[in-house]
Symmetry: C2
Subunit: 135 residues, 2 copies
């Protein structure tokens, strides 16, 4: 049985009149040391991105601007989650099937990833994902 | 003689009708493996932040939203630089004296740092910085 795998990470945050600081460190709030980061932005309304899972890759996703809606499936639980707070990270260990369902205009998603890019780590076939997570 | 230390990093970027993806990997475009990240936002116009240098810490700074003006000094060269492109990182090896001179409204700065937070790594006294970079 695969238990619900994703979880929210509340980053450290200092909110002051001279500005807000959000931060996290590897091995602490960040469950891994990032080997890659990426930013996704300029996604038109109605465009759905990133329906896939990973075999080994861990990710932390943060909506640094706007609001991004994701659909998640870890094999036994499905959820729709909304990222809309730069101080909140969504930790996705493998294998979680994730779909970027909607970007509100002006949104930007920051992803920190545990490994370099590897096309073989992507599971893009949902039937394969079902076999991976098992009965 | 300390040579000009900072440099710009043009991240890989895929600009498509369904959205833009910006990315970089440790040991490649990213000169180090990040142990910490932070986000600075909500800085009112007129507020100046972060006048300091680091002894050992390397950083890459990215304006993920808006426009952030920095002043830099590596001991032999001074410059004012503007970060306004999520696909462009500013690499600051130690020791560079940096001042966050101005955040345009709605701006957010992403920093990736080579080490965990260490208050002893900060040089906050400009005379000490001058001694550090030498004649």
């Amino acid at each position: 049985v695969v238990v619900s795998a994703w979880r929210w990470i509340r980053f450290a945050e200092e909110v002051e009149p001279r500005g807000s600081l959000v931060w996290a460190q590897a091995g602490e709030a960040l469950p891994f040391t990032p080997q890659r980061f990426f930013l996704i932005h300029g996604v038109p309304d109605g465009v759905v991105r990133g329906a896939h899972a990973h075999r080994e890759l861990h990710e932390v996703l943060v909506a640094v601007a706007g609001e991004v809606t994701l659909e998640l499936d870890d094999g036994c639980e499905q959820a729709t989650v909304v990222l809309d707070d730069p101080a909140l990270g969504l930790y996705l260990p493998p294998p979680v099937w994730r779909t970027q369902r909607r970007y509100m205009p002006g949104s930007m998603l920051l992803a920190l990833a545990s490994h370099h890019y590897d096309p073989d780590d992507y599971v893009r076939d949902h039937d394969e994902f079902r076999r991976l997570v098992g009965p």
